[in-house]
């Protein structure tokens, strides 16, 4: 199969306009004849559902939460990038595009990223019009802050709750369309399979999480906006419910999965405190605007109170190693630097897995009130979790899994290798390459949902004119039976171990052998142990209760079953990519001073994996990354 990204011809800056000028349109009167399913109601899903409904399509939206307003986009703290150049500091569409491509270590698709930067300004306009309470200057204009990987201030924010406010904006737009009857909303409903008829995505099988009822839904297009797979590591900053099930089951139905090894470890999270821990909590990267990261220069000082370590004995290692970006070095680089100092025995706190994030200089310079105004909620959260007051002593932080750049392969129109299946937001692979810059996740989710997918879905309908498939079709019945069989199997094992215990064990393997640094040996260890763990799972998992009721144990077991398969794909991808780039750091491929060594000759491609059947090795397809405008350079933040 030939992977055709269908990138429009012409100069980079004109591609999206050309696409829009040349695409086929569905007339207003005909739009209501098309049904679209949207799974997931985070930023991209809610934005897409609302916008498609405004256009006149019939939308069904699904989420596993009790209401669409709770999707995990809500937890994004810091901000959203846009090339508005309100600060008059030299920002432009090109600069945002270039920063994003460079931040992604030249492993993203150029045309998609340029389009992202182009629509970024419209996102801010749209959200402000919806009533998103962005931070403002006294004169009433919008204000900005700086984020990692950029030398301009282009990040818009709503205190430390930017994701919450953007999601509520999209949710409210959805509410309006639900009230108008244009969206049919299904909360507490989980997608368990994709239905493919004649090679095209035509519907989904879902389980009502309250009653356990399995139902079938047919549509002319299916949109997955189901987020990332960071919970394959068990401990991550994702919500408890985040999972890979929707995109993984789409993969098993034929949608290629791209670059699963690109996972992001966020440098500023609260360190792990014990093995009972269910998740990790992020401290926004925005703290690095005013905070300085350090550890003691000498191992002997690591157990001392931080105040007892004199200034001359502190190693501000990011400022030392990356003088031009300093504490605002990109996430992958800042995370590895933290690991490096901790591996050298200079970490602080329990187990020596922590570094200080110190805002005392900023507090002295600007006063506690200003810092409270900027980051008060983060300081409060830190105190709730650790019991420590960060106004009096530096925070302790450590990297944690936060975001996944890999995802279902999509073409320029955000359609997967299965016609009619569109993937948006974190769930797709396209815009962040091997590393995502801060405040770009919200931007991409909303760009896909508000401004890209609504056009490309219309183009698909107008050019293919799909016929209606009733849910009585054999393809639907087969998918339903498969889902029922899967559930019955989980419930019938009645072994000795809980799904959580398997999830934790998998997470440990992934973190230790496929986390911040990977080697051939560590990955081969995982490729040996993961299938064994999976085998044990299917013999020894204990799922209590029945399938005909609210059963969280069953839900979790199903998600863990998918993680146990998906983890293998992730490790396989990491093993085949014999280079270091962005969040994928291979110990064998580094420079003498420990920086990532990319291999553009052999690996400047998107790795898209095709499912070939259970217990068969997936087939690798390559989409070459061709850069027309930018020159692939070695990333330097020094």
């Amino acid at each position: 199969m030939n992977l055709d990204a269908k990138i429009p011809p012409g100069p980079l800056a004109q591609k999206w306009d050309r696409y829009k000028s040349n695409m086929k349109l569905v007339s207003p009167a005909n739009k209501r004849k098309f049904d679209v399913i949207v799974v997931g109601t985070g930023l991209s899903g809610a934005a897409a559902a609302a916008t498609l409904a405004e256009l006149g399509y019939q939308v069904k939206a699904f989420c596993f939460q009790d209401t669409p307003r709770r999707a995990h986009s809500i937890a994004a703290q810091g901000g959203i990038n846009a090339a508005k150049n309100y600060q008059n500091d030299g920002d432009s569409i090109f600069r945002l595009f270039y920063d994003t491509i460079k931040g992604g270590d030249f492993r993203a698709r150029e045309a998609n990223v340029f389009r992202l930067a182009q629509v970024s300004a419209s996102i801010i306009d749209q959200c402000a019009a919806q009533g998103v309470p962005f931070a403002r200057e006294y004169g009433g204009t919008l204000t900005n802050r700086s984020f990692g990987g950029a030398q301009v201030s282009r990040t818009f924010y709503a205190r430390g709750q930017t994701g919450q406010q953007l999601l509520l904006g999209a949710y409210q737009a959805m509410c309006r369309q639900i009230s108008l009857g244009n969206i049919h909303m299904f909360p507490r409903t989980e997608m368990l399979d994709l239905v493919v008829v004649d090679g095209a995505a035509r519907g989904i099988v879902v389980r009502n999480l309250v009653t356990g009822d399995i139902s079938l839904h047919s549509a002319d297009a299916v949109v997955l906006a189901t987020g990332g797979y960071a919970n394959v590591f068990f401990l991550s900053t994702n919500a408890i419910g985040c999972n890979v099930t929707a995109t993984y089951r789409a993969y098993k139905q034929g949608a290629f999965f791209a670059n699963p090894c690109y996972t992001q470890i966020h440098p500023t999270c609260i360190p792990v405190s014990g093995d009972y821990q269910a998740k990790l909590t992020l401290m926004s990267e925005s703290l690095r605007n005013d905070g300085r990261v350090w550890v003691p220069k000498r191992k002997e000082d690591c157990d001392k109170e931080p105040a007892a370590v004199p200034e001359a004995e502190r190693d501000y290692y990011l400022e030392r190693k990356y003088p031009s970006y300093g504490n605002l070095a990109p996430r992958d680089i800042a995370s590895r630097a933290a690991k490096e100092v901790c591996d050298a025995g200079r970490g602080v706190g329990p187990g020596g897995r922590g570094v200080y994030l110190d805002l005392s200089n900023a507090i002295q310079r600007l006063g506690e009130n200003t810092i409270r105004d900027r980051y008060g909620n983060l300081f409060d959260m830190y105190e709730r979790i650790t019991g420590e007051n960060a106004y009096r002593q530096p925070m302790r932080i450590y990297p944690a899994v936060h975001y996944t750049m890999g995802g279902t392969w999509v073409d320029y129109g955000l359609m997967s290798t299965l016609p009619g299946l569109f993937i948006i937001g974190e769930a797709n692979f396209s815009d962040h390459g091997a590393n995502r810059l801060g405040a770009s996740g919200l931007m991409q989710g909303l760009a896909d949902g508000y401004f890209i997918l609504p056009y490309t879905v219309g183009n698909y309908f107008a050019s293919t004119k799909p016929e209606k498939i009733p849910v009585g079709h054999a393809g639907f019945k087969k998918a339903e039976e498969d889902v029922r069989q899967f559930t019955r199997r989980l419930l019938s094992i009645n072994g000795k171990r809980s799904a959580t215990s398997f999830h934790k064990e998998l997470g440990k393997l992934m973190w230790e052998n496929c986390g911040m640094a990977r080697t051939r040996q560590s990955l081969e260890t995982n490729l040996k142990h993961i299938p064994e763990l999976r085998e044990e799972f299917w013999k020894n998992v204990r799922v209590t209760g029945s399938g005909e009721e609210l059963n969280q144990n069953l839900e979790h077991a199903g998600r863990v079953a998918d993680f146990l398969e998906f983890a293998e794909l992730l490790c396989l991808d990491a093993l085949h990519r014999e280079e270091s780039c962005g969040g994928h750091f291979r110990g064998e491929h580094q420079t003498e001073d420990g920086e990532a060594r990319r291999d553009d000759t052999n690996f400047a491609y998107v790795a898209a994996w095709e499912f070939k059947g259970a217990d068969k090795k997936p087939e690798l397809h390559k989409e070459p990354l061709v850069y027309e405008e930018v020159h692939m350079a070695t990333r330097s933040y020094k």
Binding site: A47, A50, T51, Q65, D66, T67, R69, R70, H72, I74, A75, Y86, S122, Q126, A128, A129, Q130, G131, P133, F134, R136, E137, Y138, G139, G140, L142, A158, R159, Q161, Q164, L168, Y171, Q172, A173, C175, R176, I178, S179, I240, G241, S273, G274, Y276, Q277, A278, K279, T281, D380, R384, I385, Y450, K496, S498, T500, R542, T544, E549, L550, N551, Q552
Partner: protein, 258 residues
């Protein structure tokens, strides 16, 4: 530390419910309350018993999913804290802790500690939005919003829709939730055009859902994990009165030229 838990068990809304007592041993003070419950559930599964179901998702205090009444207080009574961020260091060894679901007529029970809060969504459908289609928006800086107003709107918009305000209120009133959304949108110039219809429709839907009336005891503000201010209720009452006094505005001529 070791604790005695009295946890609400109820198969569904139609079945009767009751407390079950469980011992929680070797609880670390650094655990969150929900991690402590996770541990209890793991032990139940190991013993072949049914775990308790409870709602939670982000576990960092922002999604609004978690919803437990602990010793009679929604979210457990720590200022500005959801139950997912409540840590066990605030409890004592040997303590007995009761754990119940939100209790309100408008929040019917689903199972054990989970209730149905879709009434909040239906109130939102009645007017909790600004009617602006994607693509309609003017340049963001074309409409200045003073910092004071933007900050006030943000204070109100911080509501996470958890429903603790309803759970604690002796009347099960949803006034704080509704007032927060009405205030967020009505303070902003962008929301002005629909100000009157928004407050009337949202209040009407709130009444229809079976939430009780507000008698301004302020318990909602006290338990609100986002510390939403009672003043917003006064703001909503003002907006509501103005909207009612204005009555329905209607143009005299019907239809356009077409």
């Amino acid at each position: 530390m070791n604790l005695t838990l009295k946890i609400w068990r109820q198969k569904n809304a139609a079945s009767p419910g009751g407390f079950e007592t469980h011992e929680a041993r070797d609880v670390s003070p650094d655990m969150s309350f929900l991690e402590m419950l996770d541990m209890v559930n793991e032990r139940l599964i190991a013993a072949g018993q049914e775990p308790f179901v409870f709602d939670s998702d982000c576990r960092e205090g922002i999604c609004g999913t978690c919803s437990l009444v602990i010793n009679g207080v929604p979210h457990g009574g720590r200022k500005g804290t959801t139950v997912c961020q409540l840590h066990m260091r605030h409890f004592q060894d040997g303590q007995t802790i009761t754990i119940e679901p939100w209790r309100a007529r408008a929040f019917p029970l689903v199972k054990d500690l989970i209730v149905d809060r879709t009434a909040f969504d239906r109130i939102m459908l009645a007017g909790g939005f600004i009617s602006v289609n994607t693509g309609n928006a003017p340049e963001a800086n074309a409409l200045p919003v003073s910092k004071e107003i933007a900050d006030l709107a943000m204070d109100a918009a911080a509501c996470i829709g958890c429903g603790a305000c309803v759970a604690v209120c002796k009347n099960a009133s949803a006034m704080l939730f509704v007032a927060a959304k009405v205030s967020h949108l009505n303070y902003l110039p962008q929301g002005r055009a629909e100000k009157d219809r928004r407050v009337k429709n949202m209040v009407a839907q709130m009444d229809q859902e079976g939430f009780g009336n507000c008698t301004v005891t302020g318990s909602c503000e006290a338990v609100c994990p986002k510390e939403i201010n009672l003043d917003f209720i006064a703001k909503m009452n003002r907006d509501y009165a103005v909207a009612v006094v204005k009555g329905e505005l209607k143009a005299n001529s019907g239809g356009g030229v077409g």
